[in-house]
């Protein structure tokens, strides 16, 4: 009865929004339970929404399906490989003097990997953005210091389309760069365009297979 009331009164509570994103992530994790988490790359990147708001992101990539075309001339070498993947992500960024934000996101995408280990990837993301906006500051007129800050929380859904370019790890460390474009969607305020630049490293805790 409580659940019914919550659904009819509010579209989503904040807890349900978080669960939605992590549900997607947990589904993808469970599909690969047999391979173990050590198989998954740890992706750490610099994340800059609007190219001017510095932050960071931690993610991983979970292959749902992978297929490759082998090089007939060389044993154990592939010409190219494609994969469908899910990438759960957690990010945070700041607009100094204005807001701090936390992003929970999951991308579903297609990756094309060449023999040179360079890859491109195209994905669709669905995320939830929590922004803690400064709405006032109290200044001590004796010292000039900010002695108090009031913040207001705002939540947005953040659907994005993404393009990635990078190089897979030969042994342990690869790199990537990523462009994202999407929209901040909210029922409480007007939507706005979103774009971000990201670049970082993917680290394999277990040596990557060639």
């Amino acid at each position: 009865m409580y659940l019914h009331k919550a659904v009819t009164k509010h579209t989503f509570t904040i807890i349900k929004k978080i669960f939605f994103i992590f549900f997607l992530s947990l589904v993808s994790f469970s599909l690969h339970a047999q391979t173990g988490l050590k198989e998954l790359p740890l992706v750490i990147g610099l994340y800059a929404p609007y190219i001017s708001q510095p932050g960071g992101k931690i993610a991983t990539y979970i292959n749902l399906k992978q297929w490759s075309k082998k090089n007939p001339e060389e044993e154990n070498a592939f010409e190219k490989a494609n994969s469908l993947y899910v990438s759960p992500q957690v990010g945070a960024f700041v607009r100094p003097g204005n807001h701090n934000s936390l992003l929970l996101n999951a991308d579903v995408g297609f990756k094309h990997l060449k023999r040179s280990r360079f890859f491109t990837a195209y994905s669709i993301g669905i995320g939830y953005l929590n922004t803690f906006q400064i709405i006032s500051e109290t200044i001590d007129l004796g010292s000039g210091e900010t002695i108090g800050t009031d913040r207001e929380r705002k939540g947005y859904f953040l659907p994005t389309i993404n393009f990635e370019l990078g190089k897979e790890a030969k042994k342990r460390i690869g790199w990537y760069s990523k462009l994202s474009y999407g929209r901040n969607v909210s029922t409480k305020q007007e939507n706005s365009a979103f774009f971000a630049l990201e670049f970082g490293l993917s680290i394999h805790l277990k040596k990557a297979e060639e």
């Binding site: 200044i139 010292s143 365009a193």
Partner: protein, 412 residues
Amino acid sequence: MSTEGDKISRKEFLRYCAALGIGLPFMSLIPGGCKKEIISSPEFEVNFNGSVLIVGAGAAGLTAGYLLKRYNIDFKIIEASSVFGGRMKRAGDFSDFPIDLGAEWIHENPSILAELLSDANISANIDVMPYSPETVYSYKNGKLKKHNWVSNFYSEYKFKNTTWYGFFENFMVPHIADNIVYNSPVNEINYTADKVTVKTTQQQTFEADKVLIALPMKILQSNSVKFFPELPAEKLETINGIEVPDGIKVFIEFSEKFYPDMLFTDGIFDVLVNGDSGDDKLYYNAAFRKNSSRNILGLFSVGNVATPYTSLETEAEIIAKILNELDEIFEGKATQTYIKHIVQNWSKEPYIQGSYAISSLESLSKTAEKLLKPISNKLYFAGSALGGEDRVSTVPGASKSAYTAIELILAG
């Protein structure tokens, strides 16, 4: 660039946006302000114990008096109008929050407020807020377009519960109120003798050892104040080379908020490209984050784009023109929901006659340097036009120019 973190002025935002690049994420982390700096009282070298006349009770004149009081120097501020403030003006009763009819934005890290007071013994706080609009529209060629993403690149501090006028009223004027002479427009300054004599249109005569001229540039350019001897040619050339265009602010209360937080009546990219032209026209949500239940739309316009409003004869004509413009943009909602308005036509203010300095023959820094130079150790200058490249035409710029002028006066 006068930034603190990524907080920038409106003019700088227009240049900043055009230069998006990979370095921007890191620029916002560069500490640009003095958030944690302890403000200390200025320590000027004092080789002067005579008297000073300050002409003009705007931001520069009031700051000058505030500093002279601290150094126990005898002074008087001679103000033409019946109120202090100059281009800082407040409408206290128009809405449920005070409205700045003149200077409004802080333009810098708000620690500047403590710096202007420079008194570590003050036991007072002030609330400020980042004006970071959530909705940004543009209207051009009959099309209303949304650019809400722009809000991620623009934010400026404003006072939360008070105004620039209120800041000076509460923290500076109480120290110097007895030294201000009102309703005394100055029409002559004679510095031929040892003492400087200042005469007013009210037939008053004041005498002092030094005079600080803190008048709006338009008034100096109008020759309504006669100098004996005449000001040096270089000084006159610098004064006359400063462009001070028309300026107007209008606030309208509506029964419904049909407008965005910021509305440019030009294409957004035209605004970016022409941002430094000196022409500024902006409709903005004046009640943004003011804890107000009212819907107050402000119009701020300076430059050639202001003249179609400032040149109109009556307030009724001005408001009719604005409502007509808004009706075109918002399909008649302005007239339908109009409640009341207030107009501040700075071009028609008798002792202001314009907005603020937007350009000069040389760089603004060079202009400030030339104007700040005293004449015969008796005439000194201060004002917003002397704020230099980063602070020109701002209240902090005007105040800081007064600091420079007072330092020169006290040095003898």
